[in-house]
Amino acid sequence: MSSCPAEHELAALAHGERASEEIESHVRVCAACQQHLSDVQTALTHLRVAVSRSHAPAAPTPALAPSLRPSFVGKYFIAGTLAEHSDRAVYRGAHHLLDQEVVLSLARERWTADVATRATVAAESRKLLALRHEAVAKVLDYDLVDDRPYTIEEFVRGPGLDRIVESRKVDWIDAVNWIGRLAAGAAAVRAAGLDLPQLDAQHARLNDKNSPQLVGLAEAWLVNRVLPLIADSNGITAQPTKAGSTTASSATGDDVRQLAQLFGELIRLPAGPVTITSQALETAGVSRRIAAALARALAPASDGGAKSAAELAEQLERLASAQSWLRRLFG
């Protein structure tokens, strides 16, 4: 045989079967055919392994399954799912014109009727979009895609305070600074007449400047303002949102209570619905000079504590300055 055999004529050898004597003689002396055979055998081996793995029983630790989600929502690229709820999905995404990542909260239900209300809500969204405060993640967009409303908020890349609380006790001076900043952010949201998300560790993240920012404002607005309208428009009874998820913090006094609780979590005060006392603060390492004033600021309003997030922010800022002054004075 002078010329090389066709591929299918080599197939028998590739499968470990006998071919004609003429073909086998040729392959024994032909480097090209030997290489070709080797390539085919390698490819077949890979294929058989892949097929056997695809049909193998599930491993003891199941593989992480990618969730079903769109690769784009409107003009936003969706990189992954942050949370799934019965009435909305929360995605992490990006936009090719924006130099930042975003959190996209998308309603599951379509909002087809009630055009006038849709327009009113769109107009209301402007104050959400206009809000700018260094301790609040920016809301960047509100729109509808296929009649499903969605909000866009900047993605704060740093760790959530929930992860920090899990991993370590925060120095109390840092905690005073952080809660003071979050209180200032919460006050700005209230001043704009907007609902807040829960003021808990899940809704605060440290940005790249190690400064805390409230996150989830856009989602909270979608949940509290838009989704009930969709449910109403579609004749569905709105389901109460589960505890721990994004709901409105209803009263300004409640803001202070939640922030005080978060402070306690950060410095690892004993858990429970307790009033923060100066003794507890001292036990947690707070300077004696500051503990009483700090306990007073974080106390319920009825016990002389701050009456609003704005007041708490002011008091904590004063305490942080005093601590800084004392430190300079006494070392």
């Binding site: 499968h15 079967e17 390539d39 690769s71």
Partner: protein, 227 residues
């Protein structure tokens, strides 16, 4: 899953091609999730599935930003190698203190079966323009887990495509390939079952195999004959 003359890697360069990105996710997301979890497991990093998801999201954001400018040049490296480096860098980015202990982290994350020694890796933000010539010398070459996982992901995508295409026009052709090529059963036995001659079984197998190899290479830059 649509197959066009343009390869998937070319199509995702167009960020407006949402269908292409859907396919891209379907193929590569399971690979990335499993690989990242495998790499960090048993490395005492204390990561949970949330961390793994977070890293994979970082990778896709990077891909979305860099793929539009990505040009495949086989002379300089393969896509799977480029994607491997982006993946490893994304893992390293999340390891606390990696800047001061970069090499240690890289060694920790390298697979036990990785043959190549670790070498200086490019800055994360250089990845879009990573010089693939650096990969040609063996440094930063994917480990076996990655190579196997990548191949598996591609074949999981390609085989159903080919099966649908071939079986629609010639069911015996696919069956010949499935029973003889994939299940490794003797050609004579398969021929008897399908009522065709053994030569045709060989031909069918060879042609479908060639189709699979070409699709893997053209659409996903995966050379099936590589060890």
């Amino acid at each position: 899953m649509s197959v066009t003359n343009e390869t998937l890697l070319e199509r995702v360069r167009n960020t407006a091609d949402h269908a292409a990105w859907g396919e891209f996710f379907a193929i590569y997301e399971p690979l990335l999730l499993n690989y990242v979890r495998g790499r960090v497991r048993d490395r005492s990093l204390g990561w949970n599935d949330h961390d793994v998801q977070d890293v994979v999201q970082e990778i896709f954001i990077k891909l979305y930003r860099t793929l539009p400018d990505f040009h495949l040049d086989h002379g300089r490296g393969r896509f799977r190698t480029w994607l491997y480096r982006i993946t490893v860098n994304a893992i390293l980015d999340r390891v606390p203190g990696r800047k001061s202990a970069d090499k240690v982290a890289a060694d920790n994350l390298a697979s036990d079966n990785a043959a190549a020694p670790q070498r200086r890796r490019p800055k994360v933000h250089d990845e879009g323009q990573v010089d693939l010539r650096n990969l040609a010398g063996g440094a930063g070459e994917p480990d076996l887990d990655w190579a196997n996982g990548y191949r598996q992901a591609v074949l999981d995508a390609v085989l159903p495509q080919i099966q649908a295409e071939v079986a629609a026009t010639n069911p015996n052709k696919w069956e010949s390939f499935a029973r003889h090529g994939l299940q490794n059963r003797p050609a004579a036995e398969v021929a008897a079952e399908l009522g065709i001659n053994a030569n045709l079984v060989y031909q069918n197998t060879a042609r479908v195999l060639e189709l699979v190899r070409r699709r893997c290479l053209e659409c996903y830059d995966e050379e099936l004959s590589e060890a």
